[in-house]
């Protein structure tokens, strides 16, 4: 399957469904929509809520869920992460600035120290020049004084001329050093004195009196001042050298500190750079994974998923969307979501989206709508849209999962149709049943009058015209009457059966033992000459309709009575058993003619008789009536028998606590 995530370049969002953090900048929102359907005014995401579309669905089914705290927590994690990054960044920046500043300061100080060293060295040089100038002047003056040669005088003047500028230079260099200036003051005084002595020597030389007058004393003085001056110069030189050493040390220290600071700064910068690179790399990797995960999630979804921004434009769709709706993800990107639904649903759909963006502060909700979707080829089909907000750093997007529910709808319709059919059938059946009952009732009823007439007139013939009929004729008429009576019985039985089905049932506690004894007594009273032993269990009770149950027992006991009629001494039992499932089974057993079990299934059908009427009288309705009464009670009836070995009829009645009507 082709990768369909076309437009998730850089967007940071918390994807609720995948519980992941995405870090991206922007979803492409400015992609120009390809003109698939011209955007309509109502495609705007803030439609007038009051505008009720006449063709729109009345009220879509809406389910609402509130957002879980987990989603909030995820958002918090994202922010914490950002804050941490910012803090690290600011800290690193502060460190770099501090280090840079230290390096700069030290550099400045080093520069200053270097300048001081330079100055001190200049002092030393000047001091040496001054010393040599003084020596030159002194030897010049002394030579001239002693020899009177002009060359000595030139040396003296040349050297003396140098001294003052050298002193000025020294003064200038020592400007900022008060201790040195003090030394300079005394030095200057000594030099002045020295020069004065030398000048005196020269003057004496000029007069050619040096050698004669006070030559020695002067020479001694000159020597003394020269010694003093030299000592002062040396002292000054020493202090300058000491200063130079200190200044050099300071310069070295500053240089060292600056170097260290630069090294540290470099290292820190490298570290920050490395961290940044790792972070960026990690984010990129994560983004890649995230994108993959999101894509995986989108692609693995069994639904078409469309992510929509607040302009109602589609940002992302998965490839299932293409299968469902015919649009490729590329085609959908930037399109309004309204093109996916038919015209009449657009308002509802867009309103629903608008709700998310309008109520930003409200708890996040999940909404499910049943609408129709429209395929690219114009085909319309029912869908279920499930919308869920998606928190991103750009705000809220809405994911919409679209599911084709055609099949479900079809099934629903089918079920509805089947139900309707079933109801109709049931109604028809009920109507047919009622009609049948009414029919059988009126047939039975209407048959009766003519039957009475036949019987009545036969009787008239037998009574009033007997003398005009021979014995055979009278016999025939008797057969007519006998048939009439038989038919009357059948009709009565049919009416009774129909009555069984129509009368309302009233359940109460019925004592079957008492009922059975009453019926047995009635039977015995009718034929006192028969020898029948009734064995009736005590306390047989059931929750049943007393009248209907009497019909059951009457029929079963009548049968038993009837089919034992050919036995000299018969035995009829009434009792009950408990079935393994707890149901109580009542039975009526006789030791009479029995029947062939092959025909057992005919037993409970109306008019089915297992014996000839000539053998045993009967209408063929009795057991059918019994079966219906039992069925109305929710019970069952069955029989077991063998020819000439009697028959047993068993029946159950539905549980005692069940309510009565059928």
């Amino acid at each position: 399957m082709e990768y369909a995530l076309l437009s998730l370049p850089k967007a940071g969002c918390v994807l609720n469904q995948t519980e992941e953090v995405l870090n991206r900048d922007v979803f492409i929102e400015d992609a120009e929509p390809k003109v698939l359907a011209a955007p309509r005014p109502e495609d705007s995401l803030l439609p007038a809520a009051t505008n009720n579309g006449t063709t729109g669905p009345s009220t879509p089914v809406t389910e609402t869920q509130t957002v879980t705290p987990r989603q909030k927590r995820r958002t918090r994690t994202c922010w914490q992460r950002l804050l941490l990054t910012a803090l690290v960044f600011v800290g690193s920046l502060y460190g770099l600035i501090t280090i840079g500043r230290t390096a700069f300061d030290n550099f400045i100080h080093e520069q200053e120290a270097h300048a001081a060293v330079g100055r001190t060295q200049q002092v030393l040089v000047t001091l040496q020049s001054l010393a040599s100038s003084l020596h030159a002047a002194e030897s010049g003056a002394r030579g001239f004084a002693i020899s009177g040669q002009q060359s000595h005088l030139d040396q003296y003047y040349g050297a003396t001329k140098m001294i003052q500028p050298q002193l000025d230079e020294l003064h200038g260099v020592l400007q900022d050093d008060s201790a040195a200036l003090k030394q300079f003051g005394s030095l200057e005084a000594l030099i002045t004195a020295n020069l004065a002595v030398l000048k005196e020597m020269v003057d004496l030389g000029n007069k050619n009196v040096f050698r004669a007058v006070g030559q020695r004393a002067l020479a001694d003085r000159g020597y003394g001042t020269m010694q003093n001056t030299s000592a002062a110069l040396q002292a000054m030189e020493q202090s300058a050298r000491a200063r130079l050493a200190g200044q050099s040390n300071v310069a070295l220290q500053h240089a060292h500190t600056a170097r260290v600071a630069l090294l540290e700064g470099g290292a820190l910068a490298c570290a920050v750079l490395l961290l940044c690179s790792i972070s960026v790399y990690w984010l990129l990797i994560e983004n890649g994974q995230m994108e993959e995960k999101l894509n995986g999630f989108l692609e693995s979804s069994p639904d078409a998923i469309v992510i929509v921004n607040k302009e109602g434009k589609i940002v992302v769709s998965n490839s299932y969307t293409e299968r469902l709706l015919g649009y490729t993800p590329q085609e959908l990107a930037g399109q309004t979501v309204a093109i996916l639904v038919p015209e009449r649903y657009r308002k509802v759909c867009l309103q629903q989206y608008a709700v998310y963006f309008a109520n930003r502060g409200d708890p996040m909700t999940t909404t499910s709508l049943e609408l129709s979707a429209i395929h690219k080829d114009g085909r319309e089909f029912p869908i279920d849209i499930c919308m869920k907000p998606l928190e991103t750093e750009q705000g809220i997007l809405v994911t919409s999962a679209l599911r084709d529910i055609s099949q479900r709808k079809q099934t629903e319709q089918k079920v509805t149709r089947l139900n309707e059919q079933l109801e109709q059938r049931a109604a028809e059946l009920e109507a047919a049943n009622k009609e049948l009952e009414a029919f059988s009732y009126s047939v039975s009823h209407d048959l009766r009058s003519p039957l009475h007439s036949i019987d009545g007139f036969s009787q008239v013939l037998l009574e009033d015209y007997a003398d005009r009929l021979d014995a055979e004729g009278q016999e025939h008429l008797k057969h007519v009457r006998s048939s009439c009576q038989q038919m009357e019985e059948i009709i009565n039985a049919l009416l009774a059966l129909s009555k069984m089905m129509r009368t309302e049932m009233f359940r109460q506690k019925v004592d079957l033992s008492v009922l059975a004894r009453q019926i047995a007594d009635e039977l015995k009273a009718k034929a006192p000459d028969r020898a029948v032993d009734f064995v009736i269990a005590n306390d047989l009770t059931a929750n049943a309709d007393a009248q209907l149950l009497r019909v059951v027992l009457e029929n079963l006991l009548n049968n038993a009575w009837k089919f034992t009629s050919k036995k000299p001494r018969a035995r009829i039992e009434v009792g009950s058993l408990l079935q393994s499932n707890g149901d109580q089974v009542f039975y009526v057993r006789d030791d009479g003619a029995g029947f062939d079990m092959e025909h057992a299934q005919k037993l409970f059908s109306p008019f089915k008789r297992l014996h000839k009427t000539s053998d045993f009288q009967g209408t063929g309705i009795g057991l059918a009536t019994v079966q219906r009464v039992i069925a109305r009670h929710g019970g069952k009836i069955w029989a077991s028998a063998a020819i000439d070995h009697g028959a047993t009829f068993c029946f159950t009645l539905a549980a005692a606590n069940k309510d009565g009507t059928t």
Binding site: Y441, H445, R448, S449, P450, H452, S453, D455, G456, F457, V460, N492, L495, K499
Partner: protein, 144 residues
């Protein structure tokens, strides 16, 4: 001598013939008049006489079948009881219908309820029970 008259309301002529025969055999004095549907019976008993005719003399007893054309037997009974002339007229419901709710008949004012075909002995017991003078003492009754 004023013979008592019974009005038989019966739409089945054969049934009417058979019933009349029974009375002819067993109670010669009683005249049986037959009305073949409910409307005729009501006309006979409560109807306004047309010009020149006298109001029919009321019968001593009405034997009323229920399953009647035009007006149903129970409706006939209801109207008879609602009419001042026939409000207390003895009525015995005669029907082959075992299903009929006898209680409805009694509620509407029937004096008794009998099944077809009529058992004459039972009929005699019934008319004694409802207070009609028995034929065992014919002198005690006649005019109404």
């Amino acid at each position: 001598m004023n013979k008592p008259t019974f009005l038989l309301v019966e739409d089945d002529p054969q049934a009417a013939i058979l019933l009349k025969r029974i009375f002819k055999k067993k109670a010669r004095d009683i005249t049986i008049t037959v009305a073949s549907d409910g409307a005729e019976a009501l006309q006979y008993l409560t109807g306004t006489p047309t010009a020149g005719q006298q109001l029919q003399e009321l019968p001593a007893l009405v034997l009323l079948d229920l399953d009647l054309p035009k007006v149903h037997g129970l409706e006939v009974l209801r109207r008879l009881r609602a009419h001042p002339r026939t409000a207390t007229l003895p009525v015995i419901i005669l029907t082959s219908d075992r299903e009929i709710d006898a209680a409805t008949g009694y509620t509407l004012g029937a004096n008794s309820f009998m099944r077809k075909p009529l058992d004459f002995d039972e009929f005699l017991r019934t008319i004694v029970k409802i207070g009609l003078v028995t034929f065992a003492k014919p002198a005690a009754r006649s005019d109404n």
